[in-house]
Assembly symmetry: C2
């Protein structure tokens, strides 16, 4: 097993742990047991311990999410269709996990103390990148810059809030409802802007 293999296994295991139990909800021993690796490996690859591993997991989660979104936007001509496809995949993913898995970024954001500035900075960077990505694509759908930026943030916040509520509800209903409302909004507003408002 090469260096990169173990490192990656640890990152992915931490990512899953964040999704299902939050930052302080899992212990390192449990993570290592799941990963099938000893403590020595963890502190060899991540001398900074749990926090460094969490930062790596956050970075990886953001990268996965960004790549997935970019692929979707590349596949669909209409950015709004890509958004719908994104939500669709999120619905399937969370239902397949029996509503156990949320967003690792959100979990880390709510489970750390305000003093964990490194974590919060990393999270802010991750959310900022996703927001910018969405803003760019929503602009492509014919929205002016400011409206697109606001809308991108609304998409992101309702996605995160929807995932959180779906986990609590044990149902995809919150995500479905909020995105139905959101899309009907976007379509309406799109017409308005198309009419020159």
């Amino acid at each position: 097993m090469s260096k990169e293999d173990s490192r990656y296994i640890l990152v992915k295991t931490m990512q899953s742990a964040l999704q299902s139990k939050g930052l302080h909800g899992v212990g390192l021993n449990e993570i290592l047991k799941t990963a099938g690796l000893p403590k020595g490996s963890l502190y060899y690859h991540f001398p900074g311990g749990k926090e460094e591993l969490a930062l790596a997991a956050i970075a990886n989660a953001e990268q996965e999410m960004s790549r997935f979104l970019e692929q979707l936007f590349a596949r669909f001509d209409d950015p709004l269709e890509a958004l719908a496809a994104w939500i669709d995949s999120a619905l399937q993913r969370i239902a397949a996990s029996r509503f156990k898995l949320g967003c690792p970024l959100a979990a880390a954001a709510l489970d750390c103390s305000p003093e964990d500035t490194d974590l919060l900075l990393a999270l802010n960077g991750a959310f900022g990148n996703l927001r910018d990505l969405l803003t760019r694509q929503i602009s492509r759908a014919g929205f002016p810059a400011e409206a697109a930026a606001d809308l991108a943030v609304l998409v992101l916040t309702s996605y995160e809030g929807g995932l959180m509520m779906a986990r609590a509800a044990g149902s995809t209903d919150p995500i479905e409802r909020s995105f139905r409302a959101l899309l009907s909004h976007v379509r309406l507003q799109q017409k308005e802007f198309a009419n020159g408002h």
Copy 2:
């Protein structure tokens, strides 16, 4: 100091702890130190320990939120103005805490394991009540039942997601942006329904 005093202090302290550090982010000893009470008091009032205290904090948070919303909706003729006032107060609250405090419900929802069924059930109940409250009020603003329900969930998810992102960003920007987008949506759709669609 009466029985109810100590009990209430513990509940409020746990509520604050959930907001700033999440369920597993604070220890009981820290909570007791903040509350200025010994361990005996905790287990006298809450024999079920940390989980029972967390459940009480969740119930209290929901009640506070519900009451606050009901008061706002009673004060404003236009439900949408009440929503705007709600967000305004949330902005002030989170900024006043220097972006340390999130929503205790969301924090608990993301920081518990999927096996904590009691917690998840309580959270689902709390979110359900808030959703129903919002649905009722949004209906009053002239929205058909289904659209109002969808919209209520969108309001709630983007509120929760917005609080979370604001905490990570150290800025009210995410909440402001998402609610600006949301309100412009609601106004537009309101016109549509008023025109008989």
